[in-house]
């Protein structure tokens, strides 16, 4: 059994196909005229790539095939050909000449600060490996001859290899190199092919024709399993496929009621790495990106560049889906040493969130600048937390505007505009929602704090925890006011507290007209399932009754009575 990094979940059981790496195996070119051999390898590679391009284009479209156009151009590029010829001239074996040039060029690409451009190093390695294969007279994998899906094993997969990846030919793959975010790992997750990467020493232990079990969840490869292991994993495979079919069906379906009322389901995230989970669960956006995690567990403020990189990573990976980034929300239960926040008697009613940021424009501006810059890379929305008055919104917007002017004066690239919203979590804000709706594009109700401040109950205090009632008619009426006010001004309302992911509250919130529900990624499919079995009309009738109910208990009974 071999251990690696779990890169793409699922189970694969199949015959092994090992992709050779001729240079790593120490093969050389035995031709008497090395320059001539190189020319021949070059011509053969070009012919091969042109054929591959045509094949991939007809199967997966021109966009996927475009990589091969780039490969053809690279094979005519003096920056590649000249150093190789020169090395051969100086007496190197053609294989070593190609390998040396490949490594030197790949190193240059690896230093670039653009993820996409860094990936081009893989293209260089790819064409060089192809050249080496021809130089050593090794044969290419004949994909057409594969009749049953194989478990692909390689040192790493080149773009040419991954272009061939289809679940009908490859049921899983494992590589010696790579990490969870390497190109092949991402592709495997996208295509739903189980994969294990970074399994050092794998190629020594395994060979073509072996039977292998690959567990992409545990990051394990079992070579030539015994009968007990085989039976165990065959069962696991069936269960996985079944669960996956159900999930898949649901993930791609919209969150729409039986009578066609559509809501948006988004995910709450804390770190850029949470995005993949959000997408895997079918999130239509990020409804709350808590930036405070970026500021925690460290000794100094994150720089503008660090913040920019984190925000950019999230909006890019969300690929045009909306990402609501909440500006720094610390204080209360979230203390940060280097910000030297004073000890307060009532931290939840104290110097926190936007209150602190407005007093410290120096550090707030750093975040606002990073947001403007990251806004170039996708759909970024800015949200200010702990708003209690109109003045705070105007001040925060003024600082946001100044940050943009600063950046433009410096000649930096910024988003053309950013949609601005606020959190509604303080009753005073809910009560002036009409006035606030004129200033912003959207509201997001922070239900946890709104409940706590409205009922005046600390939910961490066990003695009064029973008073913390999300279904308190007072809370519901405030929520209804906020939604109605926003809609009157043509603005939309989301919710990012725990209530939004609570399936017992969902019908009521739909009835109140909530537009977007943001929750932990794991809750999305449950909520979606619930939404898809509800009728919008029934939800509205329920909401009307709940708003005039006397107690949380009465509301609970009304909600519970809904089929």
């Amino acid at each position: 059994m071999m251990q690696g990094i779990a890169a793409s979940p699922g189970i694969a059981i199949g015959k092994v196909l090992v992709l050779a790496d001729e240079a790593a195996e120490g093969k050389v070119c035995v031709h008497t005229d090395q320059q001539q051999a190189f020319q021949q390898a070059l011509d053969a590679s070009k012919t091969e790539i042109a054929a591959l391009r045509a094949k991939v284009s007809s199967r997966s479209g021109d966009d996927t095939a475009a990589v091969f156009d780039a490969h053809l151009l690279m094979l005519e590029d003096p920056s590649l050909l000249e150093p190789i010829s020169q090395a051969i001239e100086e007496g190197a074996n053609a294989v070593a000449a190609v390998q040396g040039t490949s490594q030197a060029l790949a190193a240059v690409f690896a230093q670039l600060d653009d993820e996409y451009m860094r990936e081009r190093a893989a293209d260089i390695k790819d064409i060089c490996r192809r050249l080496i294969r021809h130089l050593t007279g090794s044969s290419a994998v004949n994909w057409e001859a594969i009749t049953e899906p194989v478990v692909l094993i390689a040192h790493d997969l080149t773009p040419s290899d991954t272009a061939q990846l289809t679940p009908s030919i490859v049921c899983g793959f494992a590589t010696e190199s790579g990490g969870k975010t390497s190109h092949s790992a991402i592709l495997a997750r996208t295509m739903g092919i189980p994969a294990v990467v970074g399994s050092a020493g794998l190629l020594v232990r395994i060979q073509t024709g072996d039977l292998a079990i690959l567990d992409g969840e545990a990051g394990v490869i079992i070579i030539n399993p015994d009968n007990a292991q085989l039976t165990l994993y065959e069962t696991k495979l069936r269960q996985y496929q079944e669960a996956r079919r159900n999930m898949d069906v649901l993930r791609d379906l919209p969150a729409v009621t039986t009578d066609g009322y559509k809501i948006e389901l988004a995910a709450n995230i804390g770190l850029p790495r949470d995005v993949s989970t959000a997408l895997a669960n079918g999130a239509e956006g990020v409804g709350l990106y808590r930036t405070e995690f970026l500021f925690m567990n460290r000794d100094t403020m994150p720089t503008e560049e660090e913040q920019y990189a984190a925000y950019k990573a999230v909006v890019e990976e969300m690929g045009g889906r909306p990402v609501i980034i909440r500006t720094l929300d610390v204080g209360g239960d979230k203390q940060i040493d280097y910000l030297a926040m004073p000890k307060e008697a009532n931290p939840f009613l104290g110097w926190r969130a936007v209150r602190m940021c407005l007093d410290r424009p120096d550090l707030f501006t750093i975040q606002l600048r990073a947001l403007w810059r990251a806004g170039c890379h996708g759909k970024l929305l800015v949200m200010f937390p702990m708003i209690s008055s109109l003045d705070e919104v105007r001040q925060a917007k003024r600082l946001l505007g100044l940050a943009k002017e600063e950046l433009l004066a410096e000649g930096k690239q910024v988003a053309q505009s950013l949609s601005v919203g606020i959190m509604i979590e303080i009753p005073s804000a809910a009560l002036i929602a009409d006035q606030l709706a004129r200033e912003v594009e959207f509201f997001s109700i922070g239900s946890n704090d709104l409940i706590q401040y409205t009922i005046g109950v600390d939910r961490m205090n066990e003695q009064i925890a029973h008073l913390y009632q999300p279904l308190h008619p007072g809370v519901l009426n405030l929520i209804a006011m906020v939604i109605d006010a926003a809609h009157r001004h043509g603005k939309w309302v989301g919710m990012c507290g725990e209530m939004a992911g609570d399936i017992s509250c969902v019908p009521l919130l739909i009835g109140l007209g909530l537009d977007e529900f943001s929750m932990s990624a794991g809750s999305i499919s449950l909520v979606k399932q619930r939404v898809r079995n509800l009728s919008g009309i029934q939800c509205r009738q329920l909401a009307e009754k709940c708003l005039v109910a006397g107690t949380a208990e009465e509301v609970g009974m009304l909600v519970g009575a809904l089929p």
Binding site: A70, L73, M74, L80, D113, D114, M117, I124, K412
Partner: protein
């Protein structure tokens, strides 16, 4: 020698496709030596790999230098395709 400065306007910068278009265009002027300079780093304008290693993004200022019989024409042609954003669709 003739040289001109130009700012990259297309959203994706000198990614694979624009870099290829740039190199192929420069390559048509066989008798003229063409270079691209960014932040003091100089590459052969006829090399797609070289151009890509500049990692030039939207907003980057490039200097195009040419020396040879068609130097004026090649600089003019390259400046034009950069200014036209390589025909990439721009957001309104």
């Amino acid at each position: 020698m003739i040289q001109a400065e130009v700012t990259l306007t297309n959203p994706s910068g000198l990614h694979a496709r624009p870099a290829a278009q740039f190199a192929q265009t420069a390559g048509q002027f066989k008798t003229t030596v063409v270079k691209v300079v960014k932040d003091g780093r100089e590459v052969d304008a006829k090399s797609v790999i070289g151009i890509m290693t500049l990692g030039a993004k939207q907003g980057t200022i490039l200097t195009i230098q040419a020396e040879g019989p068609e130097e004026a024409e090649v600089v003019q042609t390259l400046v034009t395709i950069v200014e036209n954003g390589f025909g990439e669709r721009r957001e309104a």
